[in-house]
């Protein structure tokens, strides 16, 4: 038995209607819809088609001073709250290339009222449900933005927290970590994008360090080159760009008291 899909039950609005995949690099535009906290819209135009997309659904929001890599799927019948074709699920990676910052007014668009995302880490004072015995092998995957080893808020931290909580709950256990990077070059919007093989290791080290900081003994955690598949795909919401991640296998040591 595995608990690979423990944290896969996150439902995305419109995900069932997801259609055409889009992937491009562009400078973002911020539309200030001023509809309460975190209500602003993020727009970006695909340079190949000129179509302006609404990428606000991405867990990582753009930085108006930098280009972004947009990856996602166009949603059918998602309305037009921001002035762009809605992409959801969407992923945004902030790139180093500079952009001229640009803010536009609401111009009648309402944006979206903020709602707490389903993928949020719960506070320590919330009671947490412990896994049932016998403990199963745990499989977890933590996603990363392009060219980044940062644990992003309300996406990567959610999966990291699930991983760490399970690791803490089923001790004694062995933990294996494998980092993955997008080392096969790709061309997006005329630009070659590729990640360094070393980034896979860096990502794995970040997760290892996080486990140790939360109280897992260092000698219980091993970084390996790769783990046998399949890995947990929940973090990617069906998007095909899944090579930026860390896979974790937690092997409870059966028969030993906790």
């Amino acid at each position: 038995m595995k608990v690979a899909l423990l944290f896969g039950a996150v439902f995305l609005t419109g995900a069932q209607d997801a259609q055409q995949a889009v992937r491009f690099i562009a400078c973002p535009v911020y539309r200030d819809t001023d509809n309460g906290r975190k209500s602003g819209c993020w727009l970006a135009s695909d340079p190949a088609t000129g179509i302006r997309y609404d990428v606000t659904a991405a867990p990582t929001k753009p930085d108006w001073n930098h280009a972004i890599l947009v990856e996602g799927r166009v949603v059918k019948d998602a309305g037009d709250p921001c002035g762009g074709t809605v992409i959801e699920p969407a992923r945004v990676s902030v790139l180093e290339a500079p952009c001229t910052r640009h803010l536009i007014k609401a111009e009648g668009y309402k944006g979206r009222k903020f709602a707490l995302p389903a993928r949020n880490v719960r506070p320590l004072y919330d009671k947490r449900k412990l896994p049932e015995r016998p403990f199963a092998e745990g499989r977890f995957t933590i996603p990363f933005d392009f060219s980044s080893s940062f644990i992003t808020y309300q996406i990567a931290d959610y999966y990291l927290d699930a991983t760490i909580n399970y690791a803490l709950d089923v001790q004694p256990a062995r933990i294996e970590i494998a980092g993955v990077a997008q080392t096969v070059p790709d061309t997006v919007s005329g630009q070659r994008i590729v990640e360094s093989p070393a980034l896979a290791r860096t990502r794995a080290e970040v997760v290892r360090q996080a486990l140790i900081m939360r109280g897992i003994a260092p000698d219980r955690v091993t970084i390996v080159d790769r783990l046998p598949g399949p890995f947990v795909t929940a973090a990617f919401d069906g998007l095909e760009w899944q090579a930026r991640r860390v896979d974790v296998r937690i092997l409870p040591e059966a028969g030993r008291p906790k």
Partner: protein
């Protein structure tokens, strides 16, 4: 027999002192000198320009004679209480520093050369040598450069230094390998909140909460302005050496006694000169609420909204309102509105590390004051709160010709918002982490007892509460109305 009588006498004196001090304003001078041997009562009030501050000590009064928080343990005559004065909400106001100078001049231990003057090499008898403390409430903090055990991804160059200390042959960067920055003493009160851990992670670092190297346990990360030490115990050791001149290690017993006091003391404004008791007619302002409430709770997403302590004043029945003076009514209405403005008035937050990067919130992001000041009852950040508001970094910082100015050159990746070169009067958290991206990030403070401890911000750049609001208005182009500004000032003076 004699010993018994002596003990009995001491007990009577203690009891008398407690009876005298409990529940009222301490009749002794508002300045606590080291080694005075006063009793710290369970409840202690001090007046300030806006009303009355109340300190509450959990578990009753405490004899301070011989107590290491109140006793000079080093050669400079200072105790912890010197810079953490009860009347100043356990911080130190510039006004109190000026008063001490007028009373005693340079011989008061507050003005010890090591950090109570602009630089130890200056003539200590002259007021000008203590101008940063007297005019801005700033204590000199000397940080090692290069940073011990860290390879920094930036270089630092002193452009100017009116304090003289960074160029000083003995105390400067070249001589002592130390960078002098100047900061306000942080309040030693309400530690239940400051130490509370609401979440297991620091979203600003993308990692779990920092781990105290002494205990191996996670800590809140909200203690020091630059996070240079992580626990109260380590802060004590740091302060005993740096500020008290104590060269030995504090004993375990002394540490335990200081910890005991620090974790028992609460401070907040209790009475307003215009609005009266801040806990009147259903309001939960004042210190008692701090003492009895759960700490580390997020005020949003279903929690107890930040500053909802004053919500009852929004719903005061007309019959009751009619009995209040127009001045009291107006003040209460203003405070309640201020709490709403604090929570609900959103604005675009831009180019602030710790908010706009690297978390993923976006740059800009629309939110209100409670985005960061999100802890119920306290207004700190439930997650560790190192944020660059721009108070020390140009171009956002207000002109500060009295402070040193450093040029930071990022040698690795450029800073996410400033580029490769940053001009700053205090690199803040970067002096701990060695990261260029952390230049100017400062840990958020508690917002309690503010009426007692001007000036504000880590570098004292806001001389009064209106100055705080005006800074935010300039920095983020918020568009507060004059009424909203006044309401926010009234809210803050009531905390």
């Amino acid at each position: 027999m004699i010993r018994t009588l002596t003990l009995a006498g001491a007990s009577l004196a203690f009891a008398a002192a407690v009876a005298f001090a409990q529940g009222g304003e301490d009749r002794k001078d508002r300045w606590w000198d080291p080694g005075e041997g006063r009793v710290f009562p369970a409840s202690l009030d001090y007046r300030n320009a806006n009303g009355t501050l109340r300190l509450l000590l959990d578990s009753g009064p405490m004899e301070t004679k011989g107590h290491p928080f109140f006793t000079a343990i080093g050669p400079n005559g200072r105790a912890c209480v010197t810079c953490h004065q009860p009347a100043d909400a356990m911080s130190l106001s510039a006004e109190s520093a000026q008063r001490q100078w007028e009373r005693r001049g340079a011989k008061d231990p507050l003005f010890a050369p090591g950090d109570g003057s602009n630089c130890p090499s200056l003539p200590q008898g002259e007021r000008a040598s203590h101008s940063l403390l007297l005019d801005h409430g700033l204590i000199r903090i000397a940080r090692p450069w290069p940073i011990k055990g860290v390879k920094a991804d930036f270089t630092i160059e002193v452009i100017r230094d009116p304090s003289t200390c960074n160029f000083d042959a003995k105390h400067g960067i070249a001589g002592a390998g130390m960078i002098s920055v100047f900061r306000r003493p942080r309040p030693v009160a309400n530690f239940k909140y400051i130490e509370a851990m609401g979440f297991a992670y620091d979203p600003k670092s993308g990692m779990p909460l920092p781990v105290d190297p002494d205990t191996g346990k996670p800590v809140s990360g909200n203690l020091m302005a630059d996070g240079r030490v992580l626990s109260l115990e380590a802060q004590m050791r740091d302060a005993a050496g740096a500020h008290l001149g104590f060269l030995k290690n504090l004993s375990k017993r002394d540490i335990a006694r200081i910890l005991d006091f620090e974790r028992r003391i609460y401070a907040a404004q209790q009475i307003d000169v215009k609005g009266g008791a801040l806990d009147a007619d259903g309001s939960m302002g004042g210190t008692k609420t701090l003492q009895i409430s759960a700490a580390g709770r997020l005020g949003s997403d279903g929690g107890i909204p930040v500053w909802s302590e004053f919500e009852a004043w929004e719903k005061t029945p007309e019959a009751l309102k009619a009995k209040l003076s127009p001045e009291v009514r107006a003040f209460r209405d203003s405070v309640a509105r201020g709490a709403r403005v604090f929570r609900d008035k959103t604005f675009l937050i831009t180019d602030s590390t710790g908010i706009n990067s690297p978390i993923g919130f976006g740059n800009p992001v629309r939110n209100s004051c409670v985005f960061c000041h999100n802890m119920s009852y306290m207004g700190m950040d439930v997650a560790p709160g190192q944020v660059d508001l721009g108070t020390t970094n140009q171009p956002f910082a207000d002109p500060a010709p009295h402070l040193p100015l450093f040029r930071i050159a990022c040698t690795g990746k450029p800073h996410p918002h400033y580029g490769r070169t940053i001009l700053t009067s205090d690199p803040g958290y970067a002096l701990t982490t060695g990261k260029c991206a952390d230049v100017g990030r400062i840990t958020l403070q508690s917002l309690r007892g503010m009426s007692a401890r001007a000036p504000y911000f880590s570098n004292g750049s806001a001389k009064d509460l209106r100055g705080v609001i005006d800074y935010y208005e300039r920095r983020y182009n918020i568009g507060y109305t004059e009424q909203e500004k006044q309401d926010l000032v009234n809210l803050m003076r009531a905390l």
